[in-house]
Symmetry: C2
Subunit: 135 residues, 2 copies
């Protein structure tokens, strides 16, 4: 039940080629993808604008989440089931050499106590360095 089709159905979105292909990209490559990555790998199969709108739709429906990046490009990754239930804690590792960002689901974030009056809704930890492939 982790097919592109079932994911779309689960989020009650219309089934279109563009949406299916974009989800398949996320499923096959296990890294965070930017708009430009999708545009390139889908090889002009769909309009640039359609990809922007698809990502926006997915974001609104909590099908993907933004992945922080210091390069300026906005990157996205599929939400896991838990995240879809509003557990928003992400740990990502970005390799400075190959530029790839991967989710480190195995690592849990410790509880952090904030100053008075601050309410936490989401935590994002980005670790930058060199990945195993590049070191």
């Amino acid at each position: 039940m982790n097919s592109a089709l079932s994911i779309l159905k689960h989020h009650k979105l219309r089934i279109t080629d563009c949406r299916l292909e974009i989800i398949r990209e996320f499923l096959s490559k296990q890294v965070a993808l930017a708009h430009s990555d999708l545009e390139e790998s889908l090889n002009s199969q769909f309009d640039r604008v359609t990809i922007y709108r698809t990502l926006k739709t997915f974001l609104d429906q909590d099908l993907v989440h933004k992945v922080l990046d210091d390069s300026g490009a906005t990157k996205y990754a599929l939400c896991s089931h838990e995240e879809a239930d509003h557990n928003h804690e992400h740990v990502h590792f970005k390799c400075e050499k190959c530029g790839e960002t991967t989710c480190l689901d195995a690592i849990a974030l410790p509880k952090i106590s904030l100053p008075k009056g601050f309410k936490k809704q989401e935590m994002n930890l980005l670790i930058q360095g060199t990945c195993s492939k590049c070191s």
Copy 2:
């Protein structure tokens, strides 16, 4: 010794109006600033391009660091002295209501052990929620 002037001298940069004013903005507002924030608060006192180049110079000289943000805009904050000595660990809090991002220097990041072959160089934790002013 925390004046705009001394900061520039410490980094061996030429003293110019634009650089002084931008550092003063960072010193007075205690939040992370994007290019657009500076452009607005400096009220066209300097060219848009000059602000871009000044931020780039500051970044190269480790006078400011990038602050992660999910809005797409690149934000910057002054480096503290320790950070200038290449201790790159940042905890930031972004309020979803007012949009302001503040440094939480008091909070230390726990040590995180990465999978084999991964080398850590920098860690950024962004906590999003509601700040004390907005709650």
